[in-house]
Structures are given as C-alpha cells and as structure tokens.
Symmetry: C2
Subunit: 106 residues, 2 copies
DNA sequence: AAATTATATTAGTATATTTTAATATACTTT
DNA sequence: AAAGTATATTAAAATATACTAATATAATTT
C-alpha cells in the first residue's frame, strides 16, 4: 500500500523531471497558452512539444481545452508551481554552497 | 542559460522520481539512519539501496557521515521534505477528483 | 469539398535508468 | 593479520524515455 503511493508520487515527479517540461510549467505559471505559443517560446519542435504536453496531461498536471483550431493548456493544480519554487530555492542553496567551497582554500 | 537551469532542476527531480528513493526520503524525514536500517525497513537489497542512496547523494540531496563500520545518511536540505508534502497534497486532490468522477453518473 | 492551419500520433532509433548478481573496499574485532 | 561486518562498485541484461521524421486528425477558411 505504502509502496503504491510512493509509485504514484514517483510518477508525478517523473512527469516533471524534464527540462522542456519544467520550462512549459514555468511558462504556464502566469496563465494559459496554446501549443503554438508554447513551442515558439521554447524553440522546440511542435511534435516534441505535443509529446511533452501529453506527458504532463496524462499525469493530471496540466489540463487543456479546445478553442477553434487551437488547444490551450494550463496548470491544473497551482501547487505544482510551489514545488518548482522550492526546487529553485534548493538549487540556489546548492550552488551557493558549491561556490563557497572555492573560497575556502579548496 | 535558462535552459541550463531547467536542466539542473530536472536532474534534481529525476533523482527524487523513484519509489524507493521517495521512501528513503520519507524515512529520513525524522532524522538520520544508517544504510542497514534503511534497507531493512524498506525491504530492499543492500546493494540496490546503496545505489539509490548514491543517486540522492550525488544530487546533493542527502549527506552522509561515517561512524565506525556504518554510514549514516540524512537529508541535506529540509526543503526537500516540503516538496514531498506538496506532492502528497496534489496527489490527494487528484485521487479525490478521480473519485468524484464516479459519483457523477460516469 | 478542397486547401489550410494547429495539434496529435506513430514508428524507429538512440539513450538512459533500473535491477540483479557478483565482487570489491574499508573498518573492526579476534 | 585473519575473519567478520557494513557498505560500495561494477557489469550485464531488461526496461523505460526521448528525439526525429513522417503521417494522421480535426477544425477552419476559401
């Protein structure tokens, strides 16, 4: 039972754990965007962008709606952004520490 | 530049994104443990546990110290636990919603 | 209804991750 | 210094992910 929940959480993190998908989430932080806007801003192939969006949607992290020809994606649970912000914070601390290691005669 | 930072964040999430590693982090939430305690509690092979610990340590998420024969691991940045707690919260909302979908004539 | 536009899907190849099993290292105790 | 513990490393096989290119779908405009 506990194992299954860990698996579900791992699946969620796996969905997030890709540079392109992280950039997608950061783009969508301030509101919804259509696929065309996303792949142009990211400079990533349309097909590849679609695939990454599909990963995030399958994992129930993004939602989408159709508007004419366009498909508009947005973040389903804003808490995901909190996760990214904490990751940012940790990364800064890590880099900070790595930098300090230089100062001390290393 | 922005791409490199996304890559670093992705690497961090990748390190977290495994059921066994998530369980390790949850075990260490309340304090340090040696490898022998960890793999016994998790019911995972010693070698495999070592490998997963190495992944988390390489990513600077865990730290370790030696005490006699034992190696004792602990969480380096408590913020990682916050990330797991938010993931928990999101997962609960997702499951909740999935459950509700049943109620409504689906 | 044909052509156009936006998005999605599929298949194939390339890469990366995970697991298992065997072995190595590094302290400790005898 | 030999034997015993605790942990780490390595190699090989199995599995999963990612990217590219080609093609398919679906709504729109002409």
């Amino acid at each position: 039972m506990k194992e299954k929940i860990s698996q579900l959480k791992a699946d969620m993190f796996k969905a997030i754990a890709h540079p392109t998908r992280i950039r997608i989430l950061e783009l969508l932080k301030d509101g919804e965007l259509c696929v065309c806007e996303i792949f142009e801003k990211l400079n990533v192939e349309q097909a590849n962008t679609s695939q990454h969006l599909a990963v995030l949607k399958k994992q129930d992290i993004l939602k989408s709606r159709k508007e004419g020809l366009r498909v508009i994606y947005s973040i389903k649970y804003p808490e995901v952004i909190e996760i990214l912000e904490i990751a940012d914070k940790i990364l800064k601390m890590q880099l900070d520490e790595a930098l300090k290691a230089f100062g001390s005669t290393k």
